[in-house]
Each structure stands twice: as C-alpha cells, then as structure tokens.
C-alpha cells in the first residue's frame, strides 16, 4: 500500500507543474492587459509612453519565458508576488476571501451529506416505490434549477416576506458565530441542496449494488439484525463512491461558486476570480488557479488514501 500511496503522492508534482504552465500561458493569450485597463478606465485615453512605462514596472515587457521563470522561482520561495491591479501582496488579497469560500464549501458539503445519505439509503431500500420516485424527483429538482435563479428567489423572499436581508459584511466565525451563520447559511443551503443531488444518486446506486452482494445476503441469512448489517457492512463499502463525489465537488466549491457569490453578495474566491480575469491581473489569477488546483489535487490524493484504507482490494495493487 505504501508504494501505491507514494506513487500517487509523487504524481501530484507533474500535475501541479502542468497546471502552472497551462495557466501562465493561457492568460497571456487573452487580449487586453492590466495596464491599459487600469489607465483607460472610464474615460479612455492614455499616452503610449505612460503605458510602456507601467508595463516595464510589472515586468510585462520581458520575454514570456523569463516572466515564467521569475514566477516559478517565487513560488519555490512561497512568494506569490503582488497583485497587478492593487499592488498589495497576493496573500492579503486572498486570505479573507479564502476563509469565506472554505467555510461555505464545508457547510454546503455538510448539508449535502446530511441530505444525501439518508435520502439515498431510503430510496435504495424502497427501490421503485413512490418513496424512491419522490426522492429522485426531489434531488433532481435541486440539480435542475439554475443556482442564480434560486438565489434571486431566496433574496426576493427575504425582502418581500420577511423584510430582512442577510448581513452584507463577512464576520469570521471566530469573531461572531451568530452573524457569520446568518450570512452564510443561505448560500450553504442553496449550494448544498444542489450537490446533494449527485450524492443522493450515488448513495442510492451504491447501496443498491451492495445490497445485492453475497456477504450481505449471508449476513442476513445468519439472522443478524437488519440495521446492523446495513450500518456495518453495506454502508462502509457504499460510502466509497459517495466520498469520491463529495471530494471532487468540494474543490469545485472553492473556486466555482461565481454566480452564487454574486447573487448572495459573498466576498469569496469565485468573484475574486472573475474580477481578476476582468482586470487581467496575471499574478492574482495564477495564484488563485494554483490554490484551487492545489486543493483539488490534494483532495484527490486524500481520497486515494481513504480508498486504500477502506477497500482492502486496492491495497495490493
């Protein structure tokens, strides 16, 4: 097993480098640059030598390979540089937004699991009954509604029915848990509901398969209590694919909730991404991509570890 895990760990490195290279060159292909955007602003005219001067300041006049080298060296020293748009250090720009996105992602995952596991179990146990149909319709409905539509409905309901709006400014959880939850519970619910759809489906089919397995039938024949069978044998193996889905989606939740963040006015990574691209802020975009990709790759690796631990068949690969 250790050899397997070491192999998976080492494979993270080329993937990360690949992402770095892809990002670096992809964003430089996009037309428009940060200097022009900063200076042209609302009125639209700046002289060329001012533009050239500013470009030199950011090192944008250097050949691309050199810029890449400089950036890579920086990363090795864990220095991600400064934002080209505001001039502040990257970590300053990201840290608060990351805290928020992380929290929403965790809360949404919890909501998703709390919804998916019982519902999926229920649907599997009562396959093809009206319970099954209801669960399936309920979970697909979460998937089918566009998230921004749902968000707009949320906000309008608050305003019209309760004449209330969630807090607009982010308070970290450790500062004031009540304020914090008041703001973040709603997007967590909206997003969690959506993601429970896939997880429910997964739990249901995993349970269905496991219920057919021999060892379950044997256990039943032995006369063990129904519930015991479920929780110990079946659930453990059924959880594997569910965990995979949750892990894959978690990384997406960190950087991908652009529209949700816009609708709920969350100062998160998704919106920061969109702004960074709109500003052509190369250093910030690069740092954010590495962050999100890094999380994804790491979570994948963690899943590999879990798999190896939970499923003995894999250990001997």
């Amino acid at each position: 097993m250790w050899k397997y895990l070491l192999k998976r760990f080492l494979l993270m490195v080329p993937t990360l480098i690949g992402v770095a290279v892809l990002t670096f060159f992809l964003i430089r292909v996009i037309p428009g640059d940060v200097v022009e955007l900063r200076l042209a602003g609302d009125r639209g005219a700046v002289s060329d030598d001012v533009l050239k001067q500013e470009r030199a300041r950011f090192g944008l006049d250097q050949p691309v390979w050199k810029q890449f080298g400089v950036w890579m060296v920086g990363i090795a020293r864990l220095d991600f540089g400064t934002s080209m748009w505001t001039g502040s250090p990257i970590w300053d720009e990201i840290k608060l937004r990351f805290a928020l996105s992380l929290q929403v992602a965790i809360m949404a995952t919890i909501v998703a699991v709390l919804l998916a596991v019982p519902l999926g179990l229920l649907a599997a146990l009562k396959q093809d009954s009206w319970v099954d149909y209801t669960v399936r319709i309920f979970s697909i409905a979460g998937l089918a509604c566009p998230s921004f539509w749902l968000g707009i409905l949320f906000i309008l309901t608050f305003l019209i029915v309760f004449k209330w709006l969630p807090p607009m400014v982010y308070t970290p959880f450790w500062v004031s848990p009540w304020q914090n939850l008041q703001q973040l519970i709603w997007p967590a619910l909206a997003v969690g509901y959506r993601y429970s759809a896939v997880a429910t489906r997964m739990t249901r089919s995993a349970m269905l398969e496991v219920l057919r397995e021999d060892y379950v039938r044997t256990a039943r024949a032995k006369g063990l209590v129904h519930r015991l069978i479920l929780t110990r044998h079946a659930l453990k193996n059924a959880m594997l694919p569910v965990l995979t889905v949750i892990a894959l989606e978690f990384a997406f939740l960190i950087g991908g909730l652009v529209v949700t963040e816009q609708v709920f006015n969350l100062n998160g990574i998704g919106l920061l991404f969109v702004q960074a691209v709109a500003h052509r802020d190369y250093t910030l975009i690069q740092a954010l991509v590495m962050l999100v990709a890094g999380i994804f790759i790491f979570v994948n690796f963690a899943m590999d570890v879990m798999y190896a631990w939970l499923d003995p068949r894999i250990r001997y690969r």
Partner: protein, 535 residues
Amino acid sequence: MRHRSRWSVCTLVVLALALTFAWTVSGVAQDKPRYGGVLTFVVPSEPPSYDAHQEETFGLIHPTAPHYNTLMRVDPFDKTGTKPVGDLAESWTISKDGLVYTFKLRKGVKFHDGGEMTSKDVKASYDKIIFPPAGIKSLRKDSYDAVEVVEAPDPYTIRFRLKWPEPSLLLNLASPWNWIYKADILAKDMHWYETHIMGTGPFLFVEHIKGSEWVGKKNPNYWDKGKPYLDGYRALFVSSSAQQVAAIRAGRAHIQFRSFSPPERDQLVQALGDKVTVQESPWDCLNFVSMHHEKKPFDDKRVRRALSLALDRYEGSKNLSKITLVKDVAGVQVPGTPWATPPAELEKLAGYGHDINANRAEARRLLREAGVPDGFSFTFKNRGIPHPYEPLGIWLIDQWRQIGLNVKQEVIEASAYHPMLKRGDFEVAMDFQCGFIVEPDLDLPRFVSNSDANYGKHKDKVIDELFQKQSRALDLEERRKYLRAFEKRLLDEEAHVIYTLQWHRIVVHSAKVKGWTITPSHYLNNQLDTVWLSE
C-alpha cells in the same frame, strides 16, 4: 360662569399658540443639521490604488474622497455641479488677460497627522499632477497643457501662470481628483499615496477590508468648524446591483452614490414609499456611435448622417427611460448646464428633428445616393455591460432596420473593449463620453483630430480650430458661438459621431440622508462634509 369660560377660552388659545409655536420650531429644527450617526453606503467597485491622481474610477472617489480636500470644489448645493467655490482656497483673483490665477489659502488647516497645510503642499501636489516626474503617471495631465508653472510665493498663496488664456481652468481646478497631498511625503516617496492615506479632509481613515468595506471616522480637528456632521461612514463594496437595491430596501445601507436603473427606483419607491428620497439628474455621460472613417462606406458623410437620421430619439427617450439609464435628448453638453444646447438649435441638428418619417426618408435617400444597397449589412460592436449598453444596442439595431440596414451586433467583453477600439478593429462601435465636471474643455477634447481617444480616426481641421477657439475665448458669448459651431460640425455637417441619448442619473436614498445634492457627475459631492442623518 363667564369667569370660568373666559379662562377656558384663554387656556385653549394659549395652548393652541404654544402648540403651533412648538410645531413650527420643530419643523424649523428639522432642517437644522443633526450631529451624529454613521452613514452606510454601497459602492459597486473597489479602488485599485489610493492615489486619485492616477485613477479614474468612482470606486476610488466614493470611499476615499472624504479623507481629502482639493484647492477648489464645486458648490455642493448646486444641482448643475458647475459652480466653483473654494475648498482649501479662501479667495482668488484672475488677471485681466486671463493668464495668471492667484489663490489665497486658508490658514490653520491641518493634515491628519497634525502637520499644517501650506502652499508648498499645494504646489507639490499640482506639480505631481501637471508635471509628473518620470515613472509617475498623471491621467489628466493633458487637460493642463495651458499651465506653464505653479508658484508658491508665500506659505498661503499659490499662483498658476498660463501660456494662453483658458477660462475653464477655475472649474478644472475643482476637479474631484486633485487631492492635496503632503509635500514632505511626496518628497520622500512619490508612490506612497498609492497605498496610504494622509489628507486634510473631514474624515480620518480607519480601515479598508479588501472586498468588504472601507471605514472612516470624523476628523475632530477639521478646519471647517462645525463640520462634519456625521460621526463616521462605512462604504460596503457590493458588486451586484440587485444586492445594492436589496441593501437599501432592507435598511442595511442608506445610499448608493452612483445610480440605480428606473425599475430599481420603482421597486424601492413601491416598497419603502416616503422612507426614501429620489434625486434625479441628467448625467455627464453619454453613449455615442463611432464610425471608422477609414472604412467604407463610413468614410462618406452621407452614410454617417443617414445613420443618425434614422434614430427616433424622442420616442426612444420615452421608452428607454423606463427601462435603462438614459433619458434626455441632448447635444454636446448636459441639459440644464451653462453650455447646454438651446432646444431651438438642437432641433436643427441631423436626427434631432421631430418629423421622424421625413428624417428616415432623407436617410434612405442619402444611402441610395452614396451607393449603399438596401439590406446592406455591417457589424456593430458593443460593450458587454447591461446598462445602458445592451438596451441601447438593441434599440439602435432596430432603428437602423427601419431604413433598410441589416445590422449584426457583436458584443465584446468589457475588458477587451478598449483595446479593440484602440486597434481600430471595428466598422461601427459604441463608445462613451463620461466626464467628471460638465465643462466643454473637459468633455470634448477627444473629438479633436489628433486626440488619442479619436478612435473613429476623423481628420478635420475645422473642428480642431473651433475647439481651440472656444477654449481660449474670454468672452462668454464668443465662446458660446464657437461651441455651437463645433457641435454643428461634429453632429450635423460631418456627423463624425452619432450621439444617442444622455444618460440619466437616479439616486434613491433613505429619507434620513440630508445635505446631499445630486449633480450630473457621480464623481462630485463625495466629501460628505455637508451630509447629515435625520432621525
């Protein structure tokens, strides 16, 4: 009996008088500014750097202007935003030939760190703006071409010497971007103000939480005794406009200083009734259609005129003003301001007449004459912004359809738009003209042939001459004459560009906010020293 009734009548009369007196007094007291309270407002975008000399976005002005003063400012109670009054300048004189402007500065003005403001600070700031050293950019440098030198003969006098007369300079100096910085700091590090705040303004800087909010608190040592009225302010950065409206509706914010769209205004008025105040004004912003003069058939002025004649501006104004940020049909200056076009003259310009059928018939005739076939197709490039670009785009395409033109719209992402214009990579494109103060010298230089912003690449000596003449005219009537001739040449004779409709600014705010007057510019009146919250 009579004795008692007389007493009761007296008491009643006295009571009535007392009540009336109390009511009038309280009514009067309501108009007297109340001290205290924290103003919360929402800002759609965040400042990139903190140095106004180098930025052009309202995202910087709204949260940061309260920390600074300028030499001159516009009268905060004037709805046209064109009346210059002194901020740090106590008084001023202009020489007869219009070449020397001398200002007397206020005494006892302190920076937030305790240091005194003197003319050397004003000189250092203006030198940075007008004569920036290498490596420093000053975005509005070109509008001060007329200034030869800035002198500080004594600690409370500052003098501008001009190379040629430019009557608009006084208003230009009231620019909301020309914050007065501390000379000592600039001497040590010219870049310091990009990431730090140190001014003389009515509010002290507390904190800026990125992506979240900006907080300021009252400056107890402000030179304008008795001001500011507020204890402080909070600027919340909220990018989604639906959320901005929601914030005001739920009482989480008092005001948004830029503008809301008509349906958003209607929503707030319907939900909150007399708990909100609506202030509206024509906006010093406008979308115009730029045609590339080097691409056929737009090099032919008949074609350009035809495109302008096709637009039913009055009908468009009526309908579009219900759904987006446009309203008035205007010429080169905002209606209601000193240099606006009188309606009689406006009607004479191509496309501004009231008989749309005659205009369209004329347009078709011109197109035929110029050899443009019916059903001719071209691409119209537009910027990917919902208000008012998208609705205007839909309207324009529909209007041009009425004269037999088949127009395809290509929407370019907002950040890629300006490079596209600069490259000249368009036949017909939407452009915009946004000013910070309504003044021809500030709004119109882009139409001069050698301007960097002349994306349509028209070459017209007449218009260049007219612009210069109006800029240097010392006599008001003479200036007006040249300005009108300039306008006629731009929009009618040559139809270099096609003005659509003037933007319309709608600010809906909590009725508690007092002392703030709307102007055509969303960059003005953000010092917040005159603002107070009623109870």
